[in-house]
């Protein structure tokens, strides 16, 4: 039973990371209809930025975290401006290839700059544990879960209570109408990329104490977040997070209770299952109301 709860918490933590990546994918897809296959690599880059600020420059963890997130906002806007905006309107295939190419590019750049060794940063959550009687839970995993909750709340308030957030929802629902309202659509799209990259960066920094920081860390996690997005209805932000958590939990339990190898294919089994049985996802009908 204790094993099970521990695995469950690990699964939820992993699922939160999937969910945060999927959330960024969904956000970008809803506003621009671009499926960003490089979202996991943006997360990876966020981790390296944090390593640079905290591990190399020796800044305080929270300051380094904030700087990494800010830097990733810039990267997100740059990607939108230099790569996505010029090819908008091309066939979907070309755009997909471009974002896959971006992933390769980011991975090799990261490898060139930071090398291919596994890197680590000291965080307030490294190695700490919380004990509930016999149950021992790792701080790093709990921190992912708590941070995801906070991030979701902040995003919810931003999208529903602020003028800019509402304009982002409006732009994703009807871009032409957004132009008619005088909403600066290009800037809004650029900000959507910034927000997505910032969320990815948060995931990257939170993940740092759990896995190592490595240029390939975003590849598998990024890919596995697509089943999460699909499970959530590929259009719903709460759906993306819930989908991520479901997949993270099932995958972790499969890894613990089933034979070796099941763990890595599990997200894709779920993906196929969802596509075959319920292609609109768990939140499909309801999800379109949310960003």
């Amino acid at each position: 039973m204790l094993d099970f709860i521990q695995q469950l918490v690990s699964g939820v933590a992993l699922g939160c990371v999937y969910g945060l990546i999927a959330l960024g994918v969904v956000l970008i897809y809803k506003t621009t209809e671009v499926v960003n296959f490089a979202q996991g690599d943006l997360m990876m880059l966020g981790g390296f930025f944090a390593y640079t600020f905290i591990g190399i420059l020796g800044l305080n963890y929270w300051l380094g975290f904030a700087l990494a997130v800010a830097a990733m906002a810039l990267v997100g806007m740059l990607v939108e401006r230099l790569l996505v905006r010029p090819i908008l309107g091309f066939p979907q295939f070309a755009i997909v290839m471009a974002t896959i190419g971006l992933g390769f590019f980011l991975r090799s750049i990261a490898g060139m700059i930071w090398g291919t060794d596994d890197l680590k940063i000291d965080t307030p959550f490294s190695n700490g544990v919380v004990k509930f009687g016999d149950l021992v839970l790792a701080d790093d995993k709990l921190s992912v879960i708590v941070a995801t909750l906070i991030l979701c709340l902040v995003l919810y308030l931003f999208f529903n209570k602020t003028r800019l957030g509402t304009a982002m929802r409006g732009t994703s629902e009807n871009m032409l109408a957004a132009y008619y309202m005088g909403i600066p659509v290009k800037r809004v799209v650029s900000l959507v990329w910034a927000i997505s990259a910032m969320v990815a960066a948060c995931a990257g920094v939170l993940l740092a104490p759990i896995t190592f920081i490595h240029s390939n860390v975003g590849l598998a996690l990024g890919l596995a977040s697509f089943p999460a997005a699909v499970l959530g209805g590929f259009g719903s932000i709460p759906g993306a997070v819930v989908g991520g958590i479901i997949i993270g939990v099932l995958q972790t339990l499969a890894g613990f209770y089933m034979a070796e190898g099941w763990k890595s294919v599990f997200p894709y089994i779920i993906l196929l299952g969802v596509l075959l049985l319920k292609p609109e996802g768990l939140f499909g009908a309801l999800g379109r109301k949310k960003v």
């Binding site: 929802r169 132009y179 008619y180």
Partner: protein, 275 residues
Amino acid sequence: MDTIASTTAERPAASASPSAAPILKVSNIESYYGPIMAIRGVSLEVPRGQIVTVLGANGAGKTTILKTISGVLDPLKGTIEFEGQPIQRLDADRIVRMGLSHVPEGREVFPFLSVRENLMMGAYTRRDRRAIPGDLERIYSYFPRLKERLEQPAGQLSGGEQQMLSLSRALMNRPKLLLLDEPSLGLSPLLVKEIFGIVKRVNAEEGVSILLVEQNARMALELAHYGYVIEVGRIVMADTCERLMASKDIQEFYLGAKDESARGERRWKRKKTWR
């Protein structure tokens, strides 16, 4: 009846004062969809404080003119002056900010935003945020039905309510010039009357200048001061609405000839006389 070619250099006769500069002056614009030229050298003016209408058959290019003015489409040639400033190269959001609002064909509400949020999006560029509650109240006085549905997603409104919302949303920008694209489309005669009544009040009480595109030529000519007729991307007539209504061509082709079968034939011949 004036018959004009592709330019309308002379000032509309009904202009309030002949010396006042028009709020909108469109000169010789050409717009394309890819390789297809949709409007060819269109010129028109909207005098300050007046209602000007553009009539024309389906596909004539009316919507294209409005899109070109509001900056959603860029003209390849020609100039557009709004309050004396050239706007033909500006982004749409800059133009809205200057006080030119476009109520598009087919309403284009944000379907999953609430009615209130839709209205607030209309006020997106407003600097004087304090005045917004008062403007909302005025909108509710125009369309009490919207007030009852404030928290409902706009996509759940009826077509007529969506048209009210689309118009109200544009008014939340406190525009000086309003572009209206077929506000009567798909509405019951009663609702058309209601909407046109509000348009008239907006013009008379708030002094908003209006450029109105309509299929419902009778309503449009009764409401507007001045009218243009467009065919296949070109302006073929321009005159005051009284004189347009008296014109034989207009009566026959826009105010409804009864004999549909004969109409097509005669129409083809008559069209030639306009050129």
